[in-house]
């Protein structure tokens, strides 16, 4: 079957979209082209703010109050959607084109039962009776593999979990059997394991219903798993598009290349092969340079060529479906293009600085159901946490949302008191020492980097004053001039311009804020820094910059880093040792090597399998977890993972607490499986020989 003979389901030609704001017109998307054949899955990737969602909404012809399509056309099955009347649009929306959004909770009406929200679609599009509509909805819920559709139909959105909500939204989108399904970051808000399930589902659907997909994500790994074609966007325009395989292996745009080199794929290493972030920042829509928008950040920029006129999308070879928006793509020697960043010797770890033994933290909460008077529940957020951290060591704590990672951080920081156990910092026991009672010395030795860059800085105070406050508070410097000097030094360290000291947090991008957060954390020369998911909210390229920064500072100060994350690829890149947590308990701990290769704890195995990897040479074993994470207030009595474990042994796992098996010195797995079974496990990730033309990752040097 020749693709070109069919009418494309969707075709965007020279699409230009602008927002009209108080600052004037913002061209959010410029000259966007896309052709989507029936049954095809097309991915769109790009940094935050590059216009991905705008494209998706434009395809739905929904531009909000201040948006408008200012040029080009969108052809849906050959018809220009811009010429359609409101009524025609209404009929197409939801029936022929459907959309799934990033945040499932927010896109479901909180005060309507899910059944009704689902049934609406066939009722209003096909005029079927209510009973039929309900029946169809129920079937659809079953086909997105939701357990007990009956119950879900009668629930309100908040009564089901995020993963289930996202499945409901997908079911809603599929109800009218649409020709085109738009997925705008459908899994960003979900845990990796849940994400893996949804991705699996989407793949099945496109196969089963023949629906065309547009899959939007900033996660190249996900795109690789779901799509056959790909468009890379940068600052409102597509910079490269083509088949997945081609783009992933023979990328022709410096930006695409930059993106790939900032992803911590297996093989990257903080000492030997550090990630490379793209320098500079995404230009604001109204501050774009002339010529190539990527010009100022590009290593191959040639003045007089790259900054002239408007660049067209060019086919890489005539007739190929691989296009690139670069005037010099043919001139660049891709194999020599990348100069490797500096290599470092691994850091020698020092003495033990932190000793956590049998630390537990339980919360008591009032029971939610108000009818029962005064029932109390205990949430075991941390159960018998034991580990040691050495000077200049990076210890990562990984686990799904709610497993108690932040709780641990809070206990350490003295914001919560431990219920049991000891947390020894030098000779001080911090377990029950609230921050108010800690000495200045202890406080200044322990600092924290917070998860959410948008939350970590007080919006009311300037960046400089927030950093200098720490300096003065911990008595590093007192003299105002010296304090200012020190602030400037710190800004230099985190690679921010010095005049940022006067800026307010709202004038900073997420990555910049996070860097200020890091500067602040290191301002008091701490010995131990806890970083609670410092990069999970950031774009890949920024993420690379921030992780690089952390290692640099650590190397210089010999700081111990407790790195909390749910993202195993970052962890693999950064950590010396890893602790895998589930429902408040440690499932496995050991060196990075040990964790990433068999023997695995079954949970570690599943986690590894769930992480999408943007590398065509990597092959993964699929292990999709079913079931939900049990409520932390009512965990299973035995192994907490027994409800979802593919290896579960009924009668043992669900009743007895698993033993701590020491597979190697300091490599501990808490599992009932016998040692032989564990050792016999196959690796989840295997790297096949590369077929890339250039040693991109290994780099030539």
């Amino acid at each position: 079957m020749s693709v070109s003979e069919q009418t494309p389901v969707l075709e965007c030609r020279n699409l230009c979209i602008s927002y009209f704001t108080r600052a004037g017109e913002i061209p959010a998307v410029v000259d966007f082209n896309l052709k989507l054949m029936p049954g095809e899955a097309h991915g769109i990737v790009g940094e935050s703010g590059c216009g991905k969602s705008t494209v998706a909404l434009a395809i739905m012809n929904y531009m909000g109050k201040n948006g408008g399509i200012v040029g080009g056309e969108i052809l849906f099955e050959g018809r220009d959607m811009r010429t359609m009347s409101g009524e025609e649009l209404r009929r197409i929306r939801g029936s022929k084109i459907a959309m799934v959004y990033q945040e499932p909770m927010a896109s479901l009406n909180p005060s309507m039962k899910l059944g009704e929200q689902l049934a609406e679609v066939p009722i209003y599009h096909e005029g079927v009776s209510r009973e039929q509509a309900i029946e169809r909805s129920q079937k659809m819920l079953a086909s997105v593999r939701l357990p007990d559709p009956q119950r879900i139909m009668n629930s309100y959105p908040h009564q089901i979990s995020g993963g289930q909500q996202q499945r409901v939204v997908i079911a809603m989108a599929l109800l009218s059997n649409p020709k085109l399904l738009l997925l705008d970051e459908p899994t960003t808000a979900l845990d990796v394991t849940v994400e893996a399930g949804i991705v699996e589902l989407i793949k099945e659907i496109s196969a089963k219903f023949g629906t065309s997909l547009i899959y939007i994500s900033h996660n190249l790994g996900l795109i690789l798993e779901t799509c056959s074609r790909l468009t890379v966007m940068y600052s409102g325009e597509a910079v490269e598009s083509g088949d997945i395989g081609t783009v992933f292996t023979k990328m022709r745009h410096p930006y695409t290349r930059g993106l790939f080199s900032s992803i911590p794929v297996p093989g990257a290493d903080k000492n030997m092969r550090p990630l490379r972030s793209i320098r500079g920042q995404l230009p604001l829509p109204f501050a774009r340079p002339t010529g190539c928008y990527f010009g100022p950040r590009c290593d191959h920029f040639v003045a007089g060529r790259c900054d002239q006129g408007i660049l067209p999308m060019l086919p890489v070879e005539s007739g190929s479906s691989h296009f690139v928006r670069c005037v010099r793509f043919n001139e660049i020697d891709w194999s020599r293009a990348t100069t490797r960043s500096d290599q470092h010797a691994p850091i020698e770890t020092g003495a033990i600085v932190l000793n956590v033994s049998d630390m537990s933290k339980h919360y008591t909460i009032e029971s939610g159901s108000a009818v029962l008077l005064g029932a109390k529940k205990t949430v075991k957020a941390n159960e018998r946490i034991t580990f040691r951290a050495r000077e200049a060591e990076t210890i990562a704590i990984v686990g799904e949302s709610g497993c108690g990672k932040s709780t641990f951080a809070k206990v350490l920081m003295g914001l919560e008191g431990a219920t049991n156990g000891k947390v020894q910092l030098g000779d001080v026991d911090l377990a029950n020492l609230p921050v108010q009672r800690r000495s200045e010395n202890v406080i200044s030795r322990l600092q924290m980097i917070f998860q959410n860059p948008f939350d970590t800085l007080n919006p009311s105070h300037s960046v400089g004053s927030q950093i200098s406050r720490v300096i003065r508070k911990f008595g590093v410097e007192r003299d105002p001039a010296k304090v200012e000097e020190r602030v400037n030094q710190l800004l230099d360290i985190v690679k921010l311009p010095r005049d940022f000291a006067k800026r307010r947090p709202r004038q900073l991008s997420g990555g910049q804020k996070q860097r200020v957060g890091i500067a602040r954390a290191f301002a008091g020369d701490p010995k131990i820094v806890i970083a609670d998911e410092p990069v999970s909210a950031l774009d890949v390229s920024v993420q690379a910059a921030v992780t690089g920064l952390l290692t640099d500072i650590q190397r210089e100060n010999r700081t111990t880093l407790l790195f909390i994350s749910h993202d195993l690829s970052v962890v693999r890149y950064l950590a010396d040792r890893i602790i895998v947590m589930y429902l408040g308990k440690i499932m496995e701990k050991g060196t990075t090597e040990e964790i990433f290769s068999p023997p695995y704890h079954p949970y570690t195995e599943a986690l590894l399998s769930a992480v999408p990897i943007a590398d065509t040479s990597v092959k993964k074993r699929k292990i999709v977890l079913t079931g939900e994470i049990p409520s932390p207030s009512n965990p299973p009595p035995g192994c907490p993972f027994c409800t979802r474990c593919p290896y579960v042994m009924k009668g043992i796992c669900d009743t007895q607490v698993p033993p701590q098996r020491e597979m190697a010195p300091r490599h501990v797995i808490a599992c009932h499986l016998d040692e032989a079974t564990l050792r016999a496990m196959q690796p989840v990730i295997t790297i096949e020989p590369r077929e890339m033309e250039a040693e991109l990752v290994a780099g030539g040097a």
């Binding site: 406080i443 924290m448 007080n458």
Partner: protein
């Protein structure tokens, strides 16, 4: 290929404007405008009559500059500018009224002189009230007391409400229990009884109005601030402050309070309106500000009887519309601020 639309860049704002927009210079200007006005009204008795008008001299340019700065910085929101104009109209009148060519607002000249009449050698632009006093002079003078007492009462109520709200919200636990209970007691007290008790107990005066309004408004403000504090106190930057061992007081004032200012300012604009009405109502019931100086509440009260005959309705409508325009101004500013903060 679609052209890349160039963004019309707004003309570079004057550097003077930039300087004036700085919080520090704004505060200076506000104080320059407000303090003389406040002294003038609150200590009316104890300032000698000769000095009194000159006190207001620095306030006039300050008010004008503030208005200009306000218009320039809010120029994107016509609603806010209309509100600002209404309020500054009255503010500028308030500070400049001693210098306007007006007759003594308390001088009975020709009772019931209608609008536009010339009686007893006086041209009544807005007519005279039933005692024969010039309505124009009374209306213009009247804004002083309403503005000063309304704003002061609201400010004091906010001060008290914020302190308790911060303490209750941030410290939680027993503090919260006790403060919330007291707030509930005050809130479930009928406002009128509260007002009457206070005004009766302390006597009717501007300062006691401030106390009464504080009692009536502070619990509600406390709740708002408490709610906002609950919201913000789990932000990472608060944890950051805690983990560097900051004193709770500092956290409340430096870290929490500035971030609650958005909703607080909007609420304050609305509450200023209610306070103005409350003061007017108190005066109407004979519990509020007392003569001799004119104020709108008093004018409404005095005119309520006469104004029932339509030909004298102006005696009531003029002060009522003045109150209304002021409240409208506060409301519009609140609206404008909200819309501006929502806009992207």
């Amino acid at each position: 290929m679609a052209a890349i639309t160039s963004i019309p860049v707004s003309p570079p704002p004057l550097s003077i404007l930039k300087i004036l927009q700085q919080p520090r210079s704004l505060i200076v200007l506000v104080l320059l405008m407000w303090l003389p006005l406040m002294l003038n009204v609150m200590l009316a008795g104890s300032i000698s009559e000769t000095v009194r008008p000159y006190l207001l001299l620095p306030a006039i340019p300050s008010a004008l500059i503030l208005y200009g700065v306000g218009v320039l910085s809010w120029r994107e929101s016509p609603i806010a500018i209309i509100g600002l104009t209404l309020i500054f109209f009255w503010l500028i009148v308030a500070v400049s009224v001693p210098f306007l060519p007006l007759v003594d607002p308390n001088k009975p000249i020709a009772p019931f002189a209608p609008i536009g009449a010339v009686k007893n050698n006086h041209y009544f632009i807005l007519g005279a009230d039933f005692k024969g006093r010039d309505m124009l002079a009374r209306t213009l003078w009247g804004c002083q007391r309403v503005l000063v007492w309304g704003v002061t009462a609201t400010l004091v109520a906010y001060l008290v409400g914020c302190i308790f709200g911060l303490v209750a919200g941030y410290l939680g636990g027993w503090w919260d229990q006790v403060i919330s209970f007291i707030a509930n007691v005050l809130l479930s007290f009928p406002v009128m009884v509260l007002f009457i008790l206070i005004m009766n107990y302390l006597g009717a005066s501007g300062f006691n109005i401030v106390i009464a309004v504080t009692f009536a408004s502070a619990p509600a403000i406390m709740r708002i601030v408490r709610g906002l504090t609950f919201d913000t106190k789990n932000r990472d930057y608060i944890f950051a402050a805690q983990t560097r061992g900051e004193h709770p007081l500092r956290i409340m004032i430096y870290e929490l309070l500035p971030n609650a200012r958005g909703p607080i300012i909007v609420d304050a604009c609305l509450r200023l309106g209610y306070t103005t009405v409350a003061i007017t109502t108190l005066t109407f019931l004979g519990l509020g500000l007392q003569p001799p100086d004119p104020d709108w509440g008093l004018m409404i009260k005095e005119a309520a009887n006469v104004a029932k005959s339509p030909q004298f309705a102006y005696m009531l409508l003029i002060p009522a519309l003045s109150v209304s325009s002021l409240i409208l101004g506060f409301n519009l500013i609140a609206d404008g601020l909200r819309e501006m903060s929502l806009r992207d």
